[in-house]
């Protein structure tokens, strides 16, 4: 892992078009400002990990389970 030390209002640049700036430090919290092109998706890591895990868990539905769901959501 690359480790850099920055002061408030200093930034780092990732590639040509992403900058991450340290805006504020309060106790154990750091506020970051991120500038990136809109195709770059930015999430809090714990949220991203959580939703990926949920996607994974749901990604191998089997025939019997699916038939059950079909019945539960039957059109009346």
């Amino acid at each position: 892992m690359l480790v850099l030390t920055r002061k408030i209002n200093e930034s780092i640049r990732i590639g040509d078009d992403i900058t991450v700036r340290v805006l504020e430090i309060k106790g154990s919290q750091v506020r970051l400002g991120i500038e990136a092109p809109e195709y770059v998706k930015i999430y809090r890591d714990e949220l991203y990990r959580k939703v990926v895990k949920e996607n994974l868990k749901a990604s191998r539905i089997d025939f019997v389970t699916f038939e059950k769901l079909k019945k539960v959501f039957r059109k009346k």
Partner: protein, 136 residues
Amino acid sequence: MIEVRTARFGVLKVPEDNIVYFPEGLLGFSRLKKYVLLDYKDTYVKLLQSLDDPDITFGVINVFEIEPSYEFKIPESVLRLLELKRIKDAEVLVILRVEGEKIFVNFQIPLVINPINRKGVQIIVENASVKVYNMH
């Protein structure tokens, strides 16, 4: 019609119009971009099967069949990617997961699809959650 090989649903014969293209894949599945979405006459549940991996199959449902008041924001960039003018024109699906007698409906990571060009994106809705329903 195309033939789709699946790990647990045999070989499915599906009209080509049912292909949905996710330019970014789904979250955690960025390499799988092509899926087929199967509708059924007698149920609101749909099958979302990867065309790139026979093992990847989701059970999904139109969010408004479960939660008519579901609201969410969609970034402008996603609308542009899908070539959608308004969010109202999108088909919004949520993923279902079953554990025992419980159904987990994931309102946090809906699939937003443009029914015209069949492009889709999975987005994260931060203030939404997974809700649990009883099977009976």
